[in-house]
């Protein structure tokens, strides 16, 4: 009787859903692919939402202010719009107040990247209402919070870790700015320079990808027109650079005036009773309405007027008036709690100031100066650099919104001048000041600069005389018995070999290995310069890195070696020295023998 061969079941096709599940599982495991996919998804989604925001705001504004409409609209509409958005903000969407930039930073640095869907919706609705009714604020800041919020919501729903959610928030912010301003490069720079505060952030790739995707969505839907159309201006004479310096001074002073006024007003609005929060925006609405009744160009962002002065339509007294009124209107609108940003108004103010300077210069020095429109163009970037304090972003942004490269050198000079003046007269940048008024303590540029300035060289001490590698462990233990340092350098004929820990040397001596050499001990423990446990730092590395290494390896003394030759011991850095450099511990508190020699 033959045994029938074992039958093998026919392989059923795996169900479709099962295959999808495996794909998803595979995707989730591969972080780089996941980051790529999410950057694209966030970029596309944020781009679509931002475009919808811009279109709806525009349509609302067109309906609120039809061509040939009565003047009373200019008073009533912003007032009512501010009232409606004020009620909505207080009752339903309290986290949607403000421009959106400090709120986005707070989400990243304080709330683990958490921005709720309700805040996103609230920002969208309230800002569209406010801006559509003519409130003198911008749409770019709100777009940033909306984009950041979308990234936050999406990444949390996808079950990503807190760290991943935090990193994706600026990806959404960058996508929003790229679409709102049609400036993909500036959006990337702004996300890194202002929102993250670190141009070398590891999310650079994702930010670029989302920014580009969002920008492509914008172009797909709205075409390729730049935000402003300018004639091809150029430098007429080298002497003109001096005039641009003057513009930088004027722009800087104007920026300081605007920031101080805004902060001062906001401080006073904060002192009002909390139960008036819902009606405070009406003050801004009424102010801009009354101003707008006489000078309608102050209403809304005012890009039409900017376009005109960029084209050279400049009447001196009028542009001075516009700059002044816009400063007042925007400051009051923002301080009173209306939803909206200050990017757009900054550029408006800068364009008017630039046009005024340009007109005066062209009248006084017609042979060596360009038309007022060129100065208006540079003025936009100048005010942006002075108010927002992102000089690199402002240069690139002006280039992208106008696509005029010819004016780049005067722009850089003027921006730098304004930035310097603004920094001297208003020490705290506006977004940090606004956050502080809200009771938020976000990382500041000063603190980042301070951290970056502290290097290992700030805490290095002279290395003691190294032990010879041929010394026996017993002898070494005897020499190190009274040492204050936890570790000691060892050298051979070729130079520095490694560090031996006092405790380890004593243990080896006690355990009967005292006749062995220090070299043998280092080779056994992997502590030689080629060993896997060789820990060291370099002089130019941040002090924080040295501290981190100490923590990882549980060592309180690290060798500082040359980058060109690790056998060259430059000194030591100890934990007490690091604390002294940070100001945690004063030198007087450190025992004499432990103090750094420098």
């Amino acid at each position: 009787m033959t045994v029938p061969p074992p039958t093998t079941a026919l392989v059923p096709r795996r169900p479709f859903l099962l295959r999808i599940g495996e794909l998803v599982e595979d995707l989730r495991r591969q972080e780089d692919r996941l980051a790529l996919l999410l950057s694209l998804v966030i970029g596309a989604l944020v781009g679509l939402v931002t475009v919808a925001f811009m279109l709806l705001t525009g349509r609302l504004s067109a309906h609120m202010y039809p061509a040939g409409g009565d003047g009373w609209r200019r008073i009533l509409v912003p007032t009512l719009g501010a009232l409606v958005s004020g009620v909505l903000l207080v009752r339903f969407f309290p986290d949607a107040r403000g421009s959106g930039i400090p709120q986005t930073r707070a989400a990243i640095f304080i709330h683990d990247g958490h921005i709720s869907l309700k805040t996103v919706i609230g920002k969208f609705v309230c800002c569209a209402t406010a801006l559509g009714s003519g409130i003198a604020l911008g749409r770019e800041g709100p777009s940033v919070q909306i984009g950041a919020g979308i990234a936050s919501v999406l990444s949390r729903r996808l079950g990503l870790s807190r760290e991943q959610v935090r990193w994706l928030v600026p990806v959404g912010a960058s996508a929003a700015l790229a679409a709102a301003f049609n400036t993909p490069i500036a959006a990337v720079l702004f996300s890194l320079e202002e929102i993250m505060g670190d141009l070398h952030a590891p999310i650079l790739g994702s930010v670029v990808l989302s920014s580009v995707t969002s920008w492509m969505v914008l172009h797909l839907l709205l075409g390729d027109e730049p935000l402003f159309h300018v004639s091809a201006y150029h430098l007429v004479s080298a002497w003109e650079l001096l005039v641009y310096v003057v513009l930088g001074v004027v722009g800087g002073l104007g920026s300081v005036a605007f920031v101080k006024l805004l902060l001062w007003l906001r401080k006073h609005f904060y002192q009002l009773p909390k139960n008036t929060l819902w009606v405070q925006p009406v003050v801004g609405g009424l102010t801009v309405g009354l101003i707008g009744f006489v000078v309608p160009q102050v209403l809304g962002v005012g890009y039409d007027q900017v376009d005109r002065v960029l084209g050279g339509e400049v009447v001196l007294r009028f542009v001075v008036l516009l700059a002044t009124l816009k400063i007042v209107a925007t400051a009051v609108c923002y301080a009173s709690g209306n939803a909206g940003g200050i990017f757009g108004p900054s550029m408006f103010i800068g364009a008017m100031m630039g046009a005024a300077v340009g007109r005066v210069a062209h009248i006084a020095l017609p042979g060596i100066t360009a038309d007022a429109g060129a100065y208006a163009l540079v003025g936009m970037g100048t005010a942006f650099a002075g108010i927002i304090r992102t000089p690199l972003t402002s240069v690139i942004m002006i280039f992208e919104v106008t696509r005029d490269y010819t004016i780049i050198v005067p722009l850089m000079i003027s921006n730098l001048t304004a930035f310097y003046i603004s920094q001297r007269l208003q020490h705290e940048p506006i977004y940090e000041a606004l956050a502080r008024q809200d009771g938020l303590h976000l990382p500041t540029g000063a603190s980042r600069d301070h951290a970056r300035r502290l290097h290992v060289n700030s805490a290095i001490r002279e290395a003691p005389e190294p032990l010879d590698a041929g010394l026996t462990v017993c002898d070494a233990a005897a020499l190190l018995a009274d040492s204050a340092l936890d570790a000691w350098p060892v050298q051979d004929a070729e130079g520095f070999l490694g560090m031996v820990r006092r405790r380890e040397v004593a243990e080896w001596a006690r355990s009967g290995k005292g006749d062995g050499t220090l070299r043998a001990m280092l080779e056994t423990t992997g502590g030689t310069i080629t060993g896997e446990h060789f820990v060291h730092v370099h002089g130019d590395q941040p002090l924080g890195q040295a501290l981190a290494r100490m923590g990882e390896t549980h060592q309180t003394v690290l060798p500082v070696v040359s980058r060109a030759n690790v056998r060259l011991l430059l000194g030591l850095v100890t934990l007490p020295d690091v604390l002294t450099a940070y100001g945690v511990q004063s030198a007087a508190d450190i025992p004499h023998e432990e103090r750094a020699s420098g």
Partner: protein, 377 residues
């Protein structure tokens, strides 16, 4: 019986049931895709609506601007056009209209910039080039303007391109006529002459321009053609008379103008020109059939008249020339000889040709000047 299987036996892999988090992950992505699709549809609809409404509003503003421009309110018209252009950036008609308003409002520099943007996008746009030419004329840059006029003439005009091109050429011709650039003027007139043109007014104008361009013979042909169509065309007779004056055929000029005056006796200009033609005929020593004595007398009178006028305005140079003139008069005794008449006439012509700038105004377009001009040729 062994069972045969195609291929190697396979074993079903272990099934991995989907985890909750994977389901949620996939669902979230799916929802995101649906939301994107919804926003895409909404954005497309909004964008289309926006574009449509913008175009309608821009068109309305453009129409308002055109009316204002016709009413002479260039500044307000410019505002309308500027707003229309901001709504519909790519519209070259709006940009051109804005430039025109700016030019009319006296803002030539701004008009130039506006047009430069247009020309950067549409280099061969006839209307934009013509406007730019006008801007440059306003800015007293005729040499640059000529270049743009030519681009306008040979540029793209869309509908009625031939007539628009001719209009551009006529405008250039007017510019050249005011600058008395005879050779350039003639170069622009010749293509017009070659074009079939049934309308009388342009042909008449063309003929007069030929006279200005120093080609009176071509003018005569045109006027004769006009007369062959209508023998009672007084303007054609007057034009023919003008051409004859330019050609130095004073007898014919007199006859043509007389005919014109006969046909239109109440036309003051024709009557005046007829009288002028008579005077020219009466004082010119070069007309045929007047005899040597009369020729000599006319030459002397001519020389005397030129000498007096130059004498009256020319200063130091005047006295020297007057002496030369008087010496000639004294040297040449009145005889019935042709030689003295020719010498006197020639000297008169030389005096006139060499007159200093200060004396240009002393010689208006009168009979004496016409005779002297002919003698100087």
């Amino acid at each position: 019986m062994a069972e045969h299987f195609h291929g190697a036996p396979r074993v079903a892999p272990m099934a991995v049931p989907p985890t909750t988090s994977n389901v949620r992950f996939g669902t979230t992505l799916l929802v995101a895709a649906v939301v994107m699709a919804a926003f895409l549809a909404a954005d497309l609809a909004l964008a289309r609506m926006d574009v449509r409404e913008s175009r309608v509003a821009a068109a309305a503003l453009y129409d308002q601007g055109r009316v204002l421009l016709v009413l002479g309110k260039a500044s307000e018209a410019g505002d309308r056009f500027a707003t229309a252009l901001s709504m519909e950036r790519g519209n070259l008609s709006y940009a051109r209209a804005l430039a025109q308003a700016e030019l009319q409002d006296g803002r030539a520099e701004e008009a130039g910039r506006t047009l430069q943007d247009v020309l950067n996008r549409a280099e061969t746009d006839g209307a934009a080039n013509l406007l730019m030419a006008r801007v440059l004329v306003r800015q007293r840059r005729p040499a640059d303007a000529k270049s743009y006029f030519h681009r306008a003439i040979y540029g793209k005009w869309g509908a009625d391109s031939v007539s628009r091109s001719v209009e551009a050429r006529l405008e250039l011709i007017d510019l050249l006529a005011t600058r008395h650039s005879e050779s350039e003027l003639l170069a622009e007139l010749l293509p017009l002459e070659a074009m079939p043109n049934d309308s009388l007014a342009p042909r008449r104008r063309l003929a007069h321009l030929f006279i200005e361009a120093g080609a009176p013979d071509r003018a005569s042909e045109i006027f004769r053609a006009l007369l062959s169509d209508d023998p009672r065309d007084a303007d054609a007779y007057a034009g023919l008379g003008e051409a004859a004056l330019a050609l130095g055929n004073f007898r014919a000029a007199r006859a043509d103008y007389a005919e014109a005056a006969r046909l239109l006796p109440r036309n003051a200009r024709i009557v005046a020109r007829a009288a002028l033609a008579d005077t020219v005929y009466a004082i010119s020593p070069s007309v045929r059939g007047i005899g040597a004595v009369a020729r000599d007398a006319r030459s002397r009178a001519l020389l005397d008249a030129v000498s007096r006028r130059v004498d009256a305005c020319a200063g130091t140079w005047r006295s020297a020339l007057s002496d030369s003139a008087h010496a000639t008069l004294a040297r040449v005794a009145p005889k019935d000889g042709v030689g003295s008449a020719d010498a006197q006439a020639s000297l008169a012509g030389d005096l006139w040709s060499a007159r200093p700038a200060a004396c240009r105004d002393a010689f208006n377009d009168d009979a004496l000047t016409i005779v002297l001009r002919h003698m100087a040729q």
